[in-house]
């Protein structure tokens, strides 16, 4: 048997070597064509249909296609991928002639800034990460400010005086949501208790594991929390579903206005509001700037002041407390309330 494996190994090696030797020398960049093809969009895990973060970006390019007539190409990250996979994805979009090339999610921060150096004539964009290059536009958001408003709404709406926060992955970005939410709750009603939990300590699977979010939400509901805010991308769907099963409990959505997501229509009566991050506006602005030949550069911050982030009102569930929310919003915009971005 040993002999057999050895022989097999020898034969396959020779075959593999023969195969690779034939194509040596030419790199894929050299043999690629180059012309303007529109927007290259690289999604984070979960993809276009996550009803949340990625979908917000997708709306941006959909709008650009409709209004500016630019085509686009989408690619999606998979779980457990490495820096090398992201670099390859960004590279293949750039070398195929897509302009701008946009990485959706802070995980693309390093790869976009690195690959951008190799394609000086292409504009790159990265959502949730700062720019480090001349041809890179960093699109960052004040998630903590919108989350503060979500906290105000939660504190006003809770009956059990206990509210919960579910984060997808315990990283710096999601901690901004947590910090804002906790502060918003506490400053509105110090008696309300906030429980904050994360699905995964480091693994980005936290953004597309709805089952895990469902379990976490169930645990929180059982413990007496009646308003649950989930910042977990596609996973949030699981939490919203679970909350919708319990009468009187509210879910707070994230990134997109989740009340209006067709995929979530079944649960929409349980969606109190959403902390909206206007990734679509940012993406559209970037595409438009490239079309207008005045590409965006540097890091642009989208905050509450210019409606880069906001609290959704769809469904009308927070109409009765709108005045409190407007007051908090005004105080944040005026700088009277400083929202912390770390818990």
């Amino acid at each position: 048997m040993r002999r057999v494996t050895k022989l097999a190994a020898a034969v396959t090696t020779t075959a593999a070597l023969a195969l690779t030797a034939t194509a040596c020398g030419e790199s894929s960049t050299e043999s690629a064509g180059k012309k303007d093809k529109g927007v290259g969009l690289a999604f984070d895990v979960g993809g276009r249909d996550d009803h949340s973060f990625n979908q917000a970006a997708a709306r941006g390019v959909d709008k650009a296609k409709k209004e500016l007539g630019v085509d686009f190409k989408e690619m999606t990250a998979s779980n457990d991928e490495t820096e090398a996979d992201r670099e390859q994805r960004i590279t293949s979009l750039a070398k195929a002639g897509y302009n701008p090339v946009i990485g959706v999610g802070f995980d693309y921060g390093k790869s976009v800034n690195k690959i951008a150096k190799k394609f000086p004539d292409t504009t790159f964009g990265v959502v949730d990460s700062p720019s480090e290059g001349k041809n890179v536009a960093g699109l960052v958001f004040a998630e903590h400010e919108a989350s503060y408003l979500a906290g105000v709404a939660a504190a006003k709406k809770t009956k059990t005086k206990e509210v919960g926060f579910i984060g997808g992955v315990n990283n710096a970005l999601i901690q901004k949501f947590q910090a804002g939410f906790e502060q918003g709750v506490k400053e509105t009603d110090p008696k309300v208790k906030v429980t904050s939990q994360y699905l995964y300590p480091t693994n980005t699977k936290g953004f597309n594991d709805p089952a895990a979010a469902k379990d976490k939400a169930k645990g929180m509901l059982d413990a007496g929390n009646d308003v649950i805010y989930s910042a977990a991308g596609q996973s949030g769907v699981g939490s919203i579903e679970e909350v919708s099963k319990q009468k009187g409990a509210w879910a707070i959505g994230v990134d997109s206005d989740q009340y209006n997501q067709p995929g979530l229509a079944k649960y929409k009566d349980a969606i109190l509001t959403s902390a909206v991050k206007n990734v679509d506006v940012a993406v559209f602005d970037l595409v438009k700037s490239v079309e207008d030949k005045k590409p965006m550069k540097g890091t642009t911050s989208f905050d509450l002041k210019e409606d880069g982030v906001s609290l959704a009102t769809s469904g009308g569930f927070i109409d009765d407390i709108q005045s409190d929310i407007d007051k908090a919003k005004k105080e944040i915009v005026d700088g009277k309330i400083k929202v912390k971005d770390t818990p």
Binding site: V4, T12, T20, S27, S28, T76, N171, T202
Partner: protein, 369 residues
């Protein structure tokens, strides 16, 4: 006197050929059901995968896969399922990154130090599972899976601002390893090959030598085949369990090194996870053979490289995942089928020889009568 056995060659080639053909047929079927052209997909994969930058990418990607496969294979060879390579390499890489980031020593001291720390942490982490097995009889699959979660949570705890990590935009990562403490690279155009490929080759050679050419390796394989036979011949099974678990963990500790010392230079929230599980698939694919696993790791890298390109060509992103699964299954099944066929053929041959002998001796008996 040993004549060239044609049937044997056919048997040797049979298994991999059968596996490849079956895998191609099944994946073609899958691609067809998605309404796409499978032949164009294979063309894209071969064309794109054979470009020079793809080749470099594939080699770099295969290094940690190979190390993980060897770590898993050490356990496999003695019937131990070390599912915990994933946790072992991550916690090892994390603490190695912490040590590497806090020191500025000459590279010749610092690099070996970082690698040794990684190996030691991996060994300690896996030895927990080994010790629990021999003292409490807890199956290593259970403990190593649990230890994976504990490792992830431990890293998650320390990987926060103000503990062992620093904040950089929306990422947390350990302090960067200074330029002097980074591993060399082999310059190729357009991107370099990681120097850690040398480490992988050395590990492969050591694996082949220790397991195939030493008494220790013989003992280890004996325990894998039959524990009672091994202890009857004077091998302490308990000691072998702990030793091989520790060895497996030591090699697992190296899995994070290509990324840490050649690419990221720190352990951050974006450090690759899941390589330990890929290692299991590759060990199966390479049938625990040092060369087989190398080919398996390269094949895995090739599939991942070309998979992104397939997505670019509007094929479903999941196709490559399906291919990887199908290939592993096909290899396992094909080898089993060929092994059984070989066994039956051998039995038949022996039977025929015996029958022939019996006939001649009968004839002789008749003649003499």
């Amino acid at each position: 006197m040993k004549k060239f056995d044609k049937d044997r060659l056919i048997l040797a080639l049979g298994a991999p050929l059968l596996a490849i053909v079956a895998a191609l047929v099944i994946t073609s079927g899958v691609i067809l059901t998605t309404g796409k052209d499978p032949f164009y997909a294979f063309y894209v994969m071969i064309d794109f995968g054979s470009k020079s930058d793809s080749q470099v990418w594939i080699i770099n990607k295969a290094i940690p896969y190979y190390l993980a496969a060897v770590a898993v294979a050490i356990g496999f060879r003695m019937n131990l399922f070390n599912i915990g390579v994933d946790g072992q390499y991550r916690i090892a890489a994390f603490f190695a990154a912490v040590v590497g980031g806090s020191l500025t020593l000459p590279g010749i001291i610092q690099i070996p130090l970082v690698i040794l720390v990684a190996m030691a942490v991996g060994a300690i982490w896996s030895s927990i599972a080994g010790l629990l097995k021999i003292t409490r009889g807890i199956h290593e699959v259970v403990t190593t899976i649990m230890l994976n979660f504990i490792a992830a949570s431990t890293i998650g705890f320390f990987l926060q601002d103000g503990r062992l990590a620093e904040k950089d935009g929306n990422l947390f990562h350990t302090p960067d390893i200074p330029a002097s403490g980074r591993f060399f690279t082999i310059p190729t155009d357009p991107d370099p090959i990681y120097g850690t490929v040398v480490v992988a080759v050395l590990v492969g050679v050591a694996y082949w030598f220790v397991l195939g050419r030493t008494r220790f390796g013989f003992d280890l394989r004996t325990v894998g085949r039959s524990e009672s036979a091994a202890s009857a011949s004077g091998v302490s099974v308990k000691r072998m369990v702990v030793t091989s678990m520790v060895l497996s963990g030591t090699i697992a500790g190296l899995v994070g090194m290509p990324t840490l010392l050649n690419a990221s230079y720190n352990y951050g929230t974006d450090f690759p996870a899941g390589i330990g599980f890929t290692g299991i698939a590759i060990a199966l694919l390479g049938r625990n053979h040092p060369v087989g696993m190398a080919l398996g790791a390269l094949l895995w890298g090739f599939l991942e490289r070309t998979g992104t390109q397939l997505e670019f060509e509007e094929y479903a992103q999941e196709i490559v995942g399906v291919m990887q699964g199908v290939i592993v299954l096909c290899v396992v099944i094909a080898y089993e089928v060929v092994r059984r066929y070989g066994l039956r053929r051998q039995q038949r041959q022996v039977g025929e020889q015996l029958a022939a002998q019996a006939r001649t001796s009968e004839k002789k008996a008749e003649v003499s009568a």
